[in-house]
């Protein structure tokens, strides 16, 4: 697979289809990989593919430094490819401005990452080239995909509150979560708006709940649960639980999974007259 990947990258760079390839390179130890940005055909051997390729490289599509490199080819797993679909729907990239190197993936991380446990996009749902075998994506039952939440949803109200307060207390508002998130692409995050200052940006606990709830809410119907926010959080807040909860509600109520079908309307920019309203008096 690695060979096929390198060959394809080389070909794309040589015939100038793209000017850069975003991919995974070997890291400082065998259990690590790092993002690499290959601009010269002769450097394609830096590319690798293994079970340590956990990152979602699509985040580099929003960064000025990497944008400057020109039209990219980007190595994406099935999950990452969903991000691309969201980004396209949200007018952040055009389909023709990115070359998608999909890789079929049986799960990453050691131990296996949480996001891979109920994966039903082993083969990306969108790509220009597929590296690896094309597998069948069997859709898993709803409950199975959100099983991770059960434990937390079953807590009592008080336990829930205490659990999250303990988590949010730790937050130092470093914003690593939003920096890494490929879908947090605003030029100016709401937390940076100071006229008025809706959310206190300073590094103390006040506003922590507001920040974390708002961050999660802004990903409702958008987040594809790549878990990058959680991975980079220096104080280990299980941020993806919030994202996943919202994904669950969006799917349950709107029958919508972000980045799953490119033709679906974005959940939070449309409505159905028959949407659930059991909770409305």
């Amino acid at each position: 697979m690695i060979e096929a990947l390198r060959k394809k990258a080389e070909e794309l760079l040589k015939n100038k289809t793209v000017s850069v390839v975003f991919g995974y390179g070997e890291g400082s130890t065998p259990e690590r990989t790092r993002p690499v940005f290959i601009t010269k055909p002769e450097e394609v051997n830096k590319l690798t593919w293994n079970k340590y390729c956990v990152y979602n490289l699509t985040t580099y599509l929003k960064r000025q430094e990497t944008r400057k490199l020109g039209k990219p080819a980007i190595v994406v797993k099935g999950c990452d490819a969903r991000t691309l679909i969201v980004l396209m729907k949200e007018s952040q990239i055009k389909r023709e401005d990115v070359y998608i190197l999909g890789v079929s993936c049986d799960g990453v991380g050691d131990p296996l990452a949480e996001k891979c446990k109920a994966c039903d996009v082993h083969t990306p749902r969108i790509y220009d080239d597929l590296i690896g075998e094309k597998g069948e994506n069997k859709e898993l039952p709803f409950d199975e995909r959100y099983a991770e939440l059960d434990e937390y949803e079953n807590l009592s109200e008080k336990e829930k509150w205490e659990f999250w307060q303990k988590q949010f207390e730790k937050c130092i508002k470093c914003y690593a979560c939003s920096n890494i998130c490929p879908l947090c692409f605003c030029d100016r995050c709401i937390v940076e708006k100071n006229q008025p200052q809706w959310i206190d940006p300073s590094a103390h606990a006040r506003g922590n709940l507001s920040w974390n709830v708002t961050r999660a809410y802004h990903l409702a119907g958008r987040c594809i649960n790549c878990e990058e926010c959680q991975r980079v959080c220096p104080v280990d807040i299980p941020l993806n639980l919030l994202n996943k909860k919202l994904a669950k509600e969006a799917e349950k109520n709107f029958n919508y999974r972000p980045g799953y079908n490119i033709d679906d309307e974005l959940a939070m920019s449309t409505y159905n007259e028959k949407d659930n309203q059991d909770f409305v008096r």
């Binding site: 006229q195 200052q197 506003g207 709830v213 939070m268 409505y271 949407d275």
Partner: protein
């Protein structure tokens, strides 16, 4: 706040201009009495209510929130309430997931003709929150800073966040 005095809940209600605000007016015109624990903020449409507003109200010491607008199909702007309902469908479970009691954040459809329903609804929200007690959890975490609501009303300064003028 001392626990010995009876707890009076603080409710902030975000109402759309065309239906519920008018419904609340109608309750007044009909001299229908209800509890005074509510402060109303009027916006053109429930579709224009950002969940940030609700979070902010909690930050400022609200014990409960009511968001209310036109019945489905009756929105002055045709679809504003439908979009709002979508948001609530994810936002309310999110807050519940974080341990906020569902009774602290409630939603209703009240038309301009439903003065009675306004009275019923707001009274029942107030009563439900009275049972829950003060939202100390939120108020505690937000009182840490210099501008905590515990220290009384903090007026906006004329130069809030503005350095360039």
């Amino acid at each position: 706040m001392s626990n010995e005095t009876t707890f009076e809940p603080r409710i902030v209600a975000f109402l759309c201009n065309w239906c519920t605000y008018a419904g609340a007016d109608l309750a007044g015109t009909g001299r229908k009495q209800y509890q005074a624990n509510v402060r109303i903020i009027k916006l053109p449409c429930t579709g224009g209510i950002d969940p940030l507003f609700l979070i902010k109200a909690f930050e400022r010491g609200a014990d409960g929130i009511l968001v209310s607008g036109c019945h489905p199909g009756d929105c002055h702007y045709n679809s504003g309430n439908y979009h709002a309902r979508r948001r609530w469908n994810v936002f309310k479970p999110l807050l519940e997931f974080c341990g906020i009691n569902p009774d602290r954040i409630q939603f209703s459809w009240i038309s301009a003709a439903e003065g009675g329903k306004w009275v019923e609804t707001i009274n029942s929200v107030i009563d439900a929150v009275r049972v829950l007690g003060p939202f100390e959890g939120y108020q505690k975490i937000n009182a840490i800073g210099p501008e905590g609501p515990g220290e009384g009303f903090a007026p906006s300064s004329d130069t809030t966040g503005c350095e360039c003028k």
